[in-house]
Symmetry: C2
Subunit: 463 residues, 2 copies
């Protein structure tokens, strides 16, 4: 008899975990409290999505689970080679992400989720149950974990027993809450003072020969309108549109309490964006779309003893979206857990234990990186000292290859380097960079401005 | 019509808050999920209590609410003038808490809770409802908050509407969980690696003329058997017994998994304690009493907008028991909130807002102090440098009075100094002490040991 598992949450991480477990021979039941999103109409959209950027860790994990599935679900991704910074006058400046042209990839969350659900449907040993809201888990000391669900029929409950439970039910995880009743779990949730609002950039009205005809701005960049403590971003969709998101402090958003204030604010700060969104549409969206909160969640450990339960994805480590790593990290969770199950020949108790013990430092690291990256994104690149250091970082990265790795490269393009290792390497390089920078400044003052100009030209030529 | 309030939790803080609000004219309903503890038999005891030490902040707050009530509920307290340190050979050494004989006071949690419930019964505008477990609060935007309870009858629910809700339902607060659904509350819970087990020291078998006849050891000290990363403590009860508590790392406790291991451990580490507890009783208790976990809870803010709800006591700030401040701080919450209601002439929205804003820094401060005090308690006073500094601290405190205040004095005996202020003052004094200490050591090495001996004698004479 195969072991049975309840995967709670049919979002991105839940679907991938279900597939990975099914392919290992487990009998999987995948539950979600929502109805099947593939049956939803446009009106059902929650208007709160932030487009995803899938990069090395996400892709590697998908391929690890199944190369063919990876190909199918990623067929519509749009590569983004860098940021496109929009200033107040509408001028655009591109900044590359990778040293050698590596890209991150824009994909709509809903589209990716639906493709993964299709893959779930293709597998015989996964049963998919929508409209099932987890209300309780009765953990027993070893054999069976009984999950209680409320279903759409008001006050109907259903109970199922499984060998173990895998919670992929997001930042407000019910699985986690049930586990907290069983074990001493350290836990924190922290809201950052930032509200987000989804906006929508329609496809170009007229044929735009510059960008495949249909896009109003480059689809191959992550567009940013950095304005200090607030910003607008936009990521391309396959149909020529962009999903755009405004981020700003709650007090700012709440102060824009009339249509005319919103209109003035948008025109003053994002004139070129307003032009492609449409003024009325932009104001409508800003006024009426739901306002999202951003929360970081940390906890530890992630599992219950005896291999009875474990949480992955946002349920274990919700992070702010500013490093584009939330989903990538969640997919990596799946890969790491599967590798540990292999290492321990399917001994769940040992695999879960090692997962909690080893994965924590990486999760804490990326949560922190994501939080600090808000400043870099929203303030743009301004100080000339910062620019000099950044250019040196790139120059050394290109010249020394694997011996010098910029942080962004390690996080986004090197799935083989764990997050915490990336931070360690970055710390060391930072010290060297500071030293080099000081040396350059000293030489510049000794040798006059000539040397500095020469160096700047050299650096610029390498871009 | 008076405003109506649901106080959730009839523990120490809930009872005091109910009394304070009732005396201000609010119509109070006080709910608790337990049955009336005054009807409980000895068998019902949960065997997990740690005796309380009530000090200035707790007493001042009780008196602030009602001087007569304070007198009545505190009539059986036993003053403790200091710690009594027990070494491995059973030798005892007293350390004073106050500079001028100030005491903290031992009281049994159950006894205090029952006296407060009696006071609640005396007030006409408090309705007391036991056996009511909060399951949901439907917060509406302004007027009425509907509280849903499950009662002892299985699957019966009762609903009541109130103007506002005051949550005093402890570290695992349901009120807090309900509020978290309504607002962006930062929250953390952290378990420390420490398990506690309640033991019991019976009254002296024979008449003990030294300690009022009935106590086996001094009732006027908080007894500590410090043993590095674990310890035993004991606080006196009115009947001649002591409530004793063992604290130690989980791995240590779990390693003592046979009666003979427990027996060896207790005899080796706490020979004199085992003698007064009784060997069999000590081993029985250690083996069979429930093992408690210690958790810190921090959150912010503490209230819902429009004066709809607020949390006090452990629900808002659970701390480890090592500074004896948990209940004192909870009582102080009540006083601070009442003073703010007065200041804002009963405008709850304004009072709650100011409470969240101002109280946070004090709560975070005492949570941190309590955590760091574990080390001081369990390691005892060992290093001679530490002892020198401690003596200087005391000496300066006695000589300079209000101009020099040891931290313990500020926290335990000065309700007029907020916790965060106490830490600030301590930081400044610490720098001065370090400087003085360095100077003394320098003078000692210059002037030979003669000076040091003279100084030590001077310091000792002042004790």
């Amino acid at each position: 008899m195969p072991e049975t598992v309840a995967v709670i949450g049919a979002g991105l991480v839940g679907c991938l975990a279900a597939v990975a477990l099914a392919k290992r021979g487990y009998e999987v039941t995948l539950f979600d409290y929502r109805l099947d999103p593939r049956l939803a109409t446009t009106q059902d959209r929650n208007l709160r999505s932030i487009n995803l950027a899938i990069s090395a860790r996400g892709i590697t994990s998908l391929e690890y689970v199944d190369k063919e599935i990876s190909k199918r679900v990623l067929k519509d991704i749009i590569p983004m080679q860098g940021r496109m910074i929009h200033d107040l006058k509408g001028r655009q400046e591109a900044q590359k992400y990778g040293l050698f042209g590596e890209c991150i990839n824009s994909i709509d969350r809903g589209v990716l989720n639906n493709s993964l659900l299709d893959e779930v449907d293709n597998l015989e040993n996964i049963t998919l149950k929508f409209g099932h809201k987890l209300s309780q888990i009765k953990f027993t000391s070893a054999a069976k974990q009984t999950c209680v669900f409320t279903t759409d029929e008001v006050s109907t409950t259903e109970e199922y027993a499984f060998d173990f439970v895998l919670g992929c039910d997001g930042a407000y995880s019910s699985t986690r809450a049930q586990m907290q009743r069983e074990l001493r779990m350290n836990f924190s949730q922290e809201y950052i003072d930032c509200c987000y609002i989804e906006l929508y950039v329609p496809p170009a009205k007229e044929h735009n020969p510059e960008f495949n005809g249909k896009f109003a701005i480059s689809p191959n960049h992550l567009h940013i309108w950095p304005r200090g403590n607030y910003m607008l971003i936009a990521l391309a969709n396959g149909d020529g549109s962009f999903t755009s998101t405004f981020f700003g402090p709650w007090s700012l958003v709440e102060s824009l309490d009339t249509r005319s204030k919103i209109q003035d604010f948008l025109i003053t700060n994002f004139p070129d964006a307003v032009e492609i969104i449409g003024l009325k549409q932009a104001v409508d969206a800003f006024e009426s779309h739901p306002r999202g909160a951003l929360m970081c969640v940390e906890c530890s450990p992630y599992h219950l003893s005896q291999g009875r339960a474990i949480i992955l994805g946002d349920a274990a480590h919700s992070m702010v979206p500013f490093y584009g790593q939330g989903m990538n990290c969640g997919f990596e969770d799946v890969r790491v857990l599967m590798q540990l199950l292999d290492k321990h020949s399917g001994n769940r108790a040992a695999a879960f234990e090692e997962y909690s013990y080893k994965r924590h430092i990486d999760l804490v690291s990326i949560i922190k990186l994501a939080k600090t990256n808000y400043k870099e994104m929203s303030h743009g690149v301004t100080s000339s000292l910062y620019l000099l250091r950044k250019k040196l970082d790139t120059l050394l990265g290109r010249a020394l290859k694997d011996k010098w790795l910029p942080l962004y490269t390690m996080v986004s393009f090197r799935a083989d380097i764990p997050y915490h290792k990336a931070i360690q390497i970055e710390q060391r390089q930072k010290r060297i960079l500071a030293y080099l920078q000081a040396a350059i400044i000293a030489m510049t003052s000794l040798g006059g401005l000539g040397f500095y100009k020469l160096l700047r030209r050299a650096l610029n030529n390498r871009r």
